[in-house]
């Protein structure tokens, strides 16, 4: 059973009509191909119209779509081989942050990302994709391993934020993220960061310092979620749409403000409609980007990485 978002309801109606038509035709052995193909093209037209005019809040909804591919889905679909590596060597293994060595063709690389769960049990196990400090420390440990063996790093970002819990504070959530930011700037190997869902604040940035930072078309990346922004600035949870508009948090916005390097297009209707097609696109982007980055020396990459982030921000002299 597919999940339809509120703005997808008109599509849902036509799709159920189409299914009904096909079922009737089969039951009664009549040819309705002309009618179904006309309905199918209406659906495509409608979908195109809806998706060409998405509001920022609708993009946020898509980024959280329950059928959207998560980090491990992409790894499974993109990679020829993957060996998951666990633990931060200090406290525990954080299931909200996963990583391991992967092979795509003849290129091996480290892939690291936040992981959300698909059902209630998994969601709890993955802590809704909200890492604890040990998650960030595990990520950094894996990055250092990659650097040691001269393998590029790909991070997949999908988090509603770093976990705001008691133990997280005791174990230094702030310090863990801060250290990652600083260390990632000095990594000698190529680093590609891709926002595949939600990119919430420091919890996202903690694995998002890279030579190329890219966003999938229907994702968001900002300093705070629209809901929390609404509750703080409007003192009410009801202004999430307005907050999403004000935050300029979509891929297009972030690219325009030169806060990310590029946008990866999704299949029409969103990544959740075609996991495989989305994976093929991301795989191609990773392969091509790695090829580009490999023409630079480690020093050039580090210099450019630092320069890029240091140019971010707008001030009046």
């Amino acid at each position: 059973m597919r999940t339809y978002l509120d703005f997808e309801k008109p599509i849902a109606e036509l799709e159920s009509k189409l299914a009904e038509m096909k079922r009737l035709a089969e039951d009664n052995k009549v040819d309705v191909s002309a009618a179904t193909s006309s309905l199918e093209s209406s659906i495509e037209r409608l979908r195109k119209e809806i998706f060409e005019n998405l509001t920022r809040w609708q993009r946020v909804q898509l980024s959280r779509h329950p059928d959207r591919p998560y980090t491990l889905d992409y790894i499974q679909l993109m990679c020829d081989e993957f060996i998951e590596l666990h633990g931060d060597r200090q406290v525990r293994d954080d299931p909200a942050m996963i990583g391991g060595f992967a092979r795509i063709g003849d290129q091996s690389m480290m892939i690291i990302g936040q992981q959300k769960g698909r059902n209630t049990k998994q969601r709890q196990h993955r802590n809704f994709g909200m890492p604890n400090p040990e998650g960030y420390r595990k990520a950094l440990r894996l990055m250092k391993i990659a650097e040691k063996f001269n393998k590029p790093i790909v991070t997949l970002i999908d988090t509603p934020g770093a976990f705001p819990g008691l133990e997280a504070e005791e174990r230094g959530q702030g310090e863990a993220i801060a250290r990652n930011l600083k260390e990632m700037f000095m990594l000698k190997v190529p680093v590609i960061c891709i926002v595949i869902g939600e990119g919430a604040s420091g919890g996202a940035l903690g694995i998002a310092i890279g030579d190329r930072v890219l966003m999938l078309e229907n994702t968001w990346y900002s300093v705070i979620s629209p809901e929390s922004c609404s509750s703080i600035l409007w003192r009410s949870w009801d202004y999430k749409e307005e907050a999403a508009e004000a935050l300029k948090l979509t891929a297009t916005d972030m690219k325009e403000n030169r806060l990310v390097d590029g946008i990866i297009p999704e299949p029409l209707g969103g990544a959740h409609l075609d996991h495989e097609a989305m994976s093929i696109i991301i795989k191609r982007v990773i392969t091509e980007t790695l090829r580009d980055l490999s023409t630079l020396s480690p020093e050039q990459r580090i210099d450019q990485r630092i320069e890029k982030f240091c140019a971010m921000g707008v001030v009046i002299e």
Partner: protein
């Protein structure tokens, strides 16, 4: 014994602060509610003579406290906020900036300066909490970045005094990337082996804690300061129960291993001097 200086006659902690004649103005401690003379309060480095509550002072007070004869050269004092996102919540961001400037006499939530501290060269950046909650926007990030550049160019130790609620929401993604920018500069400072001391004062939370405030060669704090990544309200809502007493206090953070020491503000200048002198 956390710190001492051995002088000719035994051991002294250099805390002498003269008590001078009152000038007629009174200060009431927000913590113990006791009254003291404003002048005495100031001479006491803005700490309460009765309960040692450290008042939430800003750059002006810290500069005067740390720089010899209050002499310093401010770095990029004119830097101001733009409004690249044309952000409007209950009012437009530029209006908020303008009214805060008028109210505080400040240009943004951080000031940076270089000068002498007990004859040692030092670069100090200090946040002002009364400027939109000490929130970190482009100006804060850029001023800190340039202060670190100054430290790097002249190989002078860098002291960052944080007091902030975290990111400035009205600069959204731009604000977030200031965490990256300042961390990049600190990575360079670290490579160059120029000392960086981070002083976390009450309160230091959010993106500031998750970037420059926690990246010192030495992370230090003042007594009782609130230090955390998530704010207490958010954590309370997440876990659905009250927080233990003293949770996220400087003492708690020290106990959990994320601070090198807690320093009484009256001893700050001399203790920093001792530390930096040992590194020379």
């Amino acid at each position: 014994m956390s710190w001492f200086v051995r002088k000719e006659k035994g051991i002294n902690t250099p805390t002498e602060m003269k008590r001078e004649a009152p000038d007629g103005l009174w200060y009431q401690c927000p913590n113990c509610k006791k009254i003291m003379h404003t002048r005495e309060h100031k001479l006491n480095a803005y700490t309460c003579a009765h309960c040692n509550y450290h008042d939430k002072v800003g750059s002006e007070a810290y500069f005067e406290l740390l720089f010899d004869h209050n002499e310093f050269i401010e770095l990029d004092p004119e830097l101001r906020s733009g409004d690249p996102l044309r952000f409007i919540d209950t009012k437009p961001y530029p209006d908020r900036i303008r009214s805060t400037m008028l109210k505080t006499g400040l240009k943004d939530a951080v000031r940076a300066a270089h000068g002498k501290m007990n004859d040692l060269d030092i670069v100090v950046a200090c946040m002002d909490f009364n400027f939109i909650g000490g929130s970190m926007g482009s100006v804060v990030g850029e001023k800190i970045a340039r202060a670190i550049d100054h430290s790097l160019a002249h190989r002078q130790p860098f002291l960052m005094i944080s007091r902030s609620g975290g990111a400035r929401m009205m600069e959204a993604g731009l604000s977030l990337m200031q965490m990256a920018k300042t961390s990049a500069k600190l990575a360079l400072l670290s490579e160059a082996k120029v000392p960086y001391i981070s002083l976390l004062t009450d309160p230091t939370t959010g993106g500031v804690t998750a970037s420059y405030a926690m990246l010192g060669d030495f992370n230090i704090s003042e007594p009782q300061a609130l230090i955390g990544f998530a704010g207490p309200r958010v954590i309370r809502e997440t876990i659905g129960k009250d927080l233990p007493k003293g949770f996220q206090s400087a003492e708690f953070v020290l106990e959990h291993g994320f601070l090198d020491f807690i320093v009484d503000r009256k001893e700050l200048k001399d203790k920093l001097t001792s530390l930096l002198t040992m590194l020379r």
